[in-house]
Amino acid sequence: MTTRLQVRNLTRQHPGQQAPALDGLHLEVDAGGCLAVLGPSGSGKSTALRLIAGLDTPTGGTVLLDGADMTDVPAEKRGIAMVFQRPLLFPHLSVIDNVAFAGRAAGLSRSASRAASRRYLDLVQLGGYADRAVADISGGQAQRVALARSLAAEPKVLLLDEPFSALDSALRSDMYALLRTIRDELNPTIVLVTHDQSEAAVVADAIAVLIGGVLEHHSDVRTAYLRPSTVAVHRLMGGLNEIPGTIVAGVHHSELGSVVLPADDDPRDGPATLVIRQEMLRLVPVTAATLTGVVTALQPAGIRQRACVRVGTTSVFVELAPHVTVAPGAQVGLELPTEALHAVRAGP
């Protein structure tokens, strides 16, 4: 069931539109890997998925499965299953017959396809719902059935187009756990489209960020958080701190002072924005050696608080540990761990 997926220079220009919906996308997902494609609305995420699935025709580029060109292969023969945002369960079929659909489409008898599909219904923990009408199950259960239905097709690649976005947070957590189970048991190659960076981080091994139809970033999850390719990617990953400045000899100079960038950061001189994850910063006691600022505001962030610290004219956001308390107006020291620092250049 595991297959390596490669997408090369995939482009889609919708008729009558000037800008391409997807512009020269390059992606690779290792066999059994899970890639999250992240991007704002209209960034070309779903377009990319539909092109990979073969539901739309690309203007250019290729889709390869284990090196074999699938670009001209019709959707039904690619071995790529897709779960959409809505479950799209066939209303005229029972739960078990929905899951057995792929078997029936492949020419199996009703009883054989039902027997084969029970394993997948059990996998999504809905074995007891086999004979129910799809109108009689909840939204979360329907999405599980949709997942089981796609898995029952035993696809080489499983595409998930924001399948959890309509579920509440508790159900979403259940689905993440289910996806982990599915990965452990079946190890499919998965491409998940989402606009939620936290979902991408929980579910995937790698993240690709699409903005305006262009791939702006492709890396493992940690790199996507700490070393975003562009400021837009940093924002999309939930980063709050962007400090404009200039790099000279591996040192970023800004209102925060001169900070030495990590050795693996791009060493070229020139204007660059320092991006720092708010979760990586720490408030420390004020000393002569520390960077000093004043807390101007506190924002609740669940069990934690987010402090806005003014350094000169620059605001720096710091996510405080749950036990840390600080009052607005307090003078605080800021610790900038080297591994949290990353400079993003405006141009290429």
Partner: protein, 264 residues
């Protein structure tokens, strides 16, 4: 009496009036069908009997019913898929000059049936088409606007995402059609087929003009009896019998509509 009570009473009265409006005209037909003698001004028949039914049977009613049913079924069999295809094409937005195409498709609804039949009569005569075939062909033209309209509404509410999903599950286009499209559109398709059947079943003008007297359907038989005098009983018996097949079909269609949305 308070305003809500007055409104409720008015509502009830309107409902009763509506039911009477539909039922009252059927009462004399029902009575006439089983009346051997019913002179004016008597309120009820003087003599009950089956003379009307016997006259109808003797005049070839069974054959007329077969002809009408064949016409209805043939028209439904052709106009339903044709209307579905036309509706799908119009809904997809890939039809050139869609407004003009729609106007042409719906023209038989706007033009008087007589004009359409006369216009096509010339064409059919020139083409030397056999009468039954010609009648079916022209009735299909009359039925397609209904089936197209009904299927257009159905396609408007239809989610093509089901087809995408089916294809990614390995379903060929034929499998998608049989296992997804047709079941999902079954209520609309059966409704369209019912309307198309009615066009064929109840037509008089086209069957008379194009059939040229060689295609004797139930309406033609009823019309020929109704044109004479003293045939009220046979006209009533035939009319009453003519209601039965569409009524049975209506029940079948309603049941098909109810079944969809639940599991099979």
């Amino acid at each position: 009496m308070s305003a809500p009570l007055i409104r409720a009473a008015l509502g009830r009265a309107l409902r009763v009036a509506l039911v009477l409006w539909f039922v009252v005209p059927l009462v004399p037909i029902l009575l006439w069908a089983f009346a051997n003698r019913w002179p004016f001004p008597d309120l009820l028949p003087q003599q009950w009997g089956l003379d009307g039914v016997r006259s109808g049977l003797a005049a070839g009613a069974p054959r007329a019913f077969v002809v009408s049913a064949t016409l209805g079924l043939a028209v439904a069999a052709i106009a339903t898929p044709a209307g579905a295809l036309a509706a799908r094409a119009l809904d997809s937005g890939r039809v050139p000059l869609p407004r003009l195409t729609e106007a042409v498709l719906f023209a038989p609804l706007i033009l008087p049936a007589f004009a359409v039949a006369l216009g096509l009569d010339v064409l059919v005569l020139r083409a030397r088409a056999p009468s039954p075939v010609a009648v079916v062909a022209v009735l299909v033209v009359a039925a397609i606007p209904y089936t197209t309209y009904l299927m257009r509404v159905a396609f408007g509410a239809y989610d093509s995402g089901y087809e995408d999903e089916a294809r990614t599950l390995g379903a060929s286009r034929a499998t998608v059609l049989i296992r997804v499209q047709i079941p999902l559109l079954a209520p609309a398709l059966s409704g369209a087929a019912f309307l198309a059947f009615l066009v064929g079943w109840s037509d008089y003008v086209v069957t008379l003009l194009i059939g040229g007297g060689r295609v004797v359907s139930v309406p033609i038989l009823v019309g020929s009896f109704a044109a004479g005098t003293g045939n009220s009983a046979v006209v009533a018996a035939l009319s009453l019998a003519a209601v039965v097949p569409p009524l049975i079909l209506l029940i079948v269609v309603a049941r098909a509509g109810r079944r969809t949305g639940t599991r099979t």
